[in-house]
Subunit: 695 residues, 2 copies
């Protein structure tokens, strides 16, 4: 506990510094070593700044020091803006008196093995002195609240982000990160912190998500990612965001899967490289935005209006057309439009008999003549209807000089009596937008886009399944990767497989069949025998001893044709009819074991209709995952078949995730446990085939 | 021909008037009868304006007339802003000297049967005098090129759309239309014309699309629709847009299908109310936008940059991250990223060895130090690569004071030597945006959104199948709606059905089976017998006379149990194996016969994976439709089955469209011809069941 606290303090000292040194300082405010000083001075940084450069006595009006070693005081943060070859000396000079280093210098792991080694030395040096290391090869950061601008981005010459804004931006890319911050500032989103992580030799994006989740001044974190290195740490960061009740909005590039992975298993080609990331995000207070624009709009909407607590939307409009447009989008996105009680509709109809004040509540263009209609309507809706959000379309009427004050007053009154998120849709002047912004009401010009934002924010509240740690039981290990051995191991763990016997001589097959009960399947077993069906190594629906003898003899001949060493036969009772699932636990290099499931046949083969979850996902999230399959209807009786119990099926999937996750954890060679197919019947589930792949 | 010309002149006289009268004129420039005068005077309308109001001598400084009859000159356009009860008198007064009427007055069909009748009288009055009628219950229009503002929208008090802008906006809704025009003007899109059609007693949206398609000053038409009344006219309008080489961008509300239609046929519940509209749009120079914002962005992108001639996109970026983001989106949207030849890559690598100048062509942040890199790169790309569009991400660097001119010059040079559509992605000042706009280069701030716009515009060029007229052959009529009769009729038209015989006595069935060849199916026939399979009225795979006798006897018993009048048996040769399709020709109340097709089984039952086309669609479009099915892979051999010849299948679908369309045209009672299933085999297609539904 003390360690965590001191770690936190170390980071606070660095990311909200009270003193800075700039090594490689420049007199020119537009050079790399000049910008951090010029920006911070202009932003009113209160603490001392120590320029370090052996060639000068003064830089930008400040006393200059010949080396970091010569600086007489401890320094919270050191900007390192020197050639790569001189960086290590700077860290040596700072040992014992520096809180952390921002290393702008490039020439590290992005250049090859020698650079990689230099980067590792750097990380070691920083770690040894307990200093924070940001970079190398990064653009630095800004902390507007304290006026600290240890960055050489050209983006802050004429623009300065606001203090106390409550939004933090975290990016790997420096150039794109600075662009994002510029766009955010342009929109009036209070992004007061931005950090670019560069090569991430020390501080990573996940670290910063944790830092800002716990940072009292931050409510919303925007992250722009090109990749995640440590999945476990990233999931830990998501859990921090949840605990703090904050909101993370992520843009991650690389959504398109340019080449399906080659893999022996069916599942390999089904799972895009990005599915694991989506699986990790799911269920947390995190939204994945499709674009930078969407990210910023979500940020603005959430920062001002808040996050809706549910999916019940009220729509008010002065135009029937816009009302339909918004209702269409709302239903399309899964929002609910509650009906309006007479307490809402009657006062409107009394004044505008031709109005249709349902939901959308169309108060018509009559609002131009009777602007107080808006206040009456909003007040009645907030008082009498259980709503999670309200969108109000007022067209360009918002800004009409004769109406603007009355309409604004209607919003002010709602804000005074309710904290329901409100969005105003229309065309306002910049001054008017600012007024609404101060009231906590974002103004958006596109009706459909406004509703889509509400829906995406509401989805955060609809993610009620707490994340679980990724510790699995130790399930032991199957004695061999073959079907019979994996099934015996699964059965031993209480997972359902068909009653079956393995025989090592074909003549024992009929006796085994008698024991398990007819009809039976006979399947050839042997090391290295994949894709049994394609080899004709499976005989199904055998209904008597003669058929079993014939099948066993034929399969034994096949075994010698295939040169199988140590062949055997698995005799199993045929499973009752039902639907078939593919279920797999698969190792992801970043996020660890994934649980992947979908319906068999064309659903997976043609439609790639699978759900990917972390193998540690709780049953509730797996049940939601089953329901989210496009083919979910098949399991719910859509084709005239029975409706299966999805909760029971989710419990089975959860157990598979635990067992498979545990197996992958204990066996580093294991890459995947594939159960395909799993038969889902009215009586329950049976695993019809099971394979363990080892790398 | 002369008629068309004179019609055109009549419309030009009205929509670009040289004289106006305002009946119900008001002294107050903010009242309904005052605004058209005030707006037009302020916009510098050159012709005479005649205020009409018996109470005044002068209005807004103009001589006022007691009645329209008293106005001494012919008038191109009369604004009617009087009570509903006085409107007819105005039209009578104008007979013989008025080009057309804009009727603001409400109280017509929106109020009920009496209003409907009044509206019909109005339409008749206008038609009798050969006058154009816009409205009633509309907000009027603006024609900025001539300074005419016959509208009472409050949206033009402080804003005036530009002259000569090349964009026309057509809306049914007045309030939302004015809002759209305001947004367009705000964005600098040159929307110089806007018309609101109101109740559409005379002029419809389709009429206006035709008018602006032929209007020399207009290049892009934006239409906002709540519904289409006359589908044939609308399709005719799309053909006009194609012929004129212009671009139509449509937002139509009502995409969500709130209640599936109840229908006897399988197809009924599959086709959303909106599918017909999409089918009508497909293949034309028309784009359906999902939102008003997308509509305006597309309009801006097309108005400035033009429409790409194909799908080959070049991406230039100064940030690797933005490059990936744009490439992801491009591939996701089906664009092609051509590889860059050494003529492009080598000059870059010579100067920036660590650049990755492929496609995306990442010229890195080094551009800040060497801004001429951009000009060199763009020039080489335009010269050496066959590209249909170019997007360039320059971040906030575009606007850096020291770089802005050099970067702009790079674009100017490309513009001078190539007409390739160019989009600049970054953050510019308004002044700089304007400069780029004048060069024909839109500036967009979001990288992914920019690429999505390119893709959507490029889709217009990828729609190469000319629309066909909706005239069908007359295929005659089946003698009865039962399977045997419909099949005989289809066979007579050359459509493939299985070899079969109908017998009216069960004892004749074996002889019929001998004649068609075993194995056979025997199917009970009878008026009113729907859903044969569910009744057990179909016996399949009968492989000898005994089985046929048994089946025929059982079916005959079923016939008496079901009390069928006039029962019979259809004996058919079993079709070869293959995939099954559902094919249907169905009457749409607006767009006429639709051709609907999809794969059978879960594809249609669970996934609703059907394609809807106009029944007159050419085979090429139907082949594209087959390929666009989500289950298309099944027909192309995805599940290990054979790959079928989609062109041949499309030819079959086309013939079904012709025959079904012709049948629906000759038989007003017929609602749908449903072929379900159609068996697609290696040898060809067979229609296994066929039903004609009559309303």
């Amino acid at each position: 506990m003390r360690d965590e606290l001191s770690e936190r303090k170390r980071w606070e000292r660095f990311f909200a510094p009270r003193s800075m040194a700039v090594v490689g300082a420049s007199q020119d405010p537009n050079r790399i070593g000049g910008r951090p000083i010029a920006y911070s001075l202009r932003a009113g940084f209160a603490g001392p700044i120590y320029p370090v450069n052996p060639k000068y006595d003064q830089i930008q009006g400040l006393a200059c020091w010949p080396s970091l070693a010569a600086v007489p005081q401890p320094v919270d943060l050191v900007v390192v803006a020197v050639a790569q070859s001189q960086v290590e000396q700077v860290l040596e000079d700072g040992a014992g008196k520096v809180g952390g280093y921002v290393v702008f210098s490039a020439g590290y792991k992005e250049t090859g093995p020698a650079g990689q080694q230099a980067e590792e030395r750097l990380a070691r040096l920083a770690a040894e002195q307990g200093a924070v290391l940001l970079g190398p090869n990064c653009l630095g950061f800004i902390a507007a609240d304290v006026g600290a601008y240890p960055t050489f981005s050209s983006g802050f010459e004429d623009v300065r982000p606001p203090r106390g804004g409550g939004v933090a931006i975290v990016t790997q890319s420096g150039a794109f990160g600075a662009y994002l911050l510029r766009l955010a500032t342009e929109r009036g989103i209070g992004a007061s912190n931005w950090v670019s992580t560069g090569n991430e030799a020390g501080v990573t994006v996940a670290d910063l998500i944790i830092y800002f989740a716990e940072h009292p001044g931050t409510r919303i974190i925007l992250a722009y990612l090109e990749g995640v290195q440590d999945g476990k740490r990233f999931v830990g960061a998501l859990e921090c965001v949840d605990r703090a009740g904050k909101l993370l909005i992520v843009v991650k590039v690389g959504r398109t899967d340019r080449g399906a992975q080659a893999a022996r298993s069916h599942t390999g080609s089904l799972v895009g490289s990005d599915a694991a990331f989506d699986a990790a995000l799911r269920g947390h207070r995190a939204i994945r935005a499709d674009s930078v624009r969407e990210m910023l709009e979500l940020a603005e909407a959430a920062a001002l209006g808040g996050v809706p607590r549910g999916d019940r939307l009220g729509i008010v409009t002065v135009s029937g057309g816009a009302g339909i447009l918004m209702a269409d989008k709302a239903l399309d996105q899964g929002l609910v439009l509650p009906e309006m009680p007479s307490a809402v509709t009657e006062p409107i109809l009394a004044r505008v008999p031709f109005a249709a004040p349902y939901n959308p509540v169309d108060i018509t263009a009559q609002t131009i003549n009777e602007p107080d209609l808006l206040a009456t309507t909003l007040a009645a809706m907030v008082e009498h209807v259980d709503l999670d959000a309200l969108t109000v379309f007022l067209s360009h009427v918002i800004a009409a000089p004769s109406l603007a004050d009355t309409l604004f007053e209607a919003f002010r009154q709602v804000r005074a009596r309710s904290d329901i998120p409100l969005w105003l849709v229309g065309l306002a002047t910049e001054a008017l937008r600012r007024r609404y912004r101060e009231l906590g009401v974002p103004v958006i010009d596109d009706p459909a886009a406004a509703v889509a934002l509400v829906a995406k924010l509401a989805s955060v509240s609809a993610a009620p399944y707490p994340a679980t740690g990724a510790t699995f039981e130790d399930p032991g290990h199957p004695p061999a990767p073959e079907e019979w051995a994996v099934k015996a191991w699964l059965a031993g763990l209480g997972l359902p497989v068909p009653p079956g016997r393995r025989v090592t001589r074909p003549e024992d097959a009929p006796k085994a069949a008698d024991a398990v009960g007819y009809p039976v399947a006979v399947k050839l077993q042997g090391a290295g025998l994949w894709h049994k069906t394609e080899h004709g190594a499976v005989r199904l629906g055998l209904d008597g001893p003669e058929a079993v003898v014939e099948a066993a003899t034929a399969l034994w001949e096949l075994a010698s044709r295939l040169n199988l060493t140590d062949p055997s036969l698995l005799v199993e009772k045929m499973a009752p009819p039902g639907e078939e699932l593919l279920v797999s636990v698969r190792r992801d290099p970043v996020f660890g074991p994934l649980l992947i499931f979908g319906l068999g046949g064309i659903w997976t083969e043609v439609l790639r209709d699978v759900r990917t979850e972390l193998a540690s996902a709780p049953p509730e999230r797996l049940a939601a995952g089953l329901r989210a399959l496009r083919g979910a209807g098949v399991l719910l009786g859509a084709r005239g078949g029975p409706a299966y119990d999805l909760e029971r099926l989710a419990a089975f999937l959860h157990r598979v995730g635990q067992v498979g996750g545990g197996l992958l954890a204990r066996d580093p060679q294991a890459t995947e446990l594939e159960l395909n197919p799993v038969r889902v019947g009215v009586e329950g589930v049976q695993i019809l085939d099971a394979v363990l792949y080892r790398g």
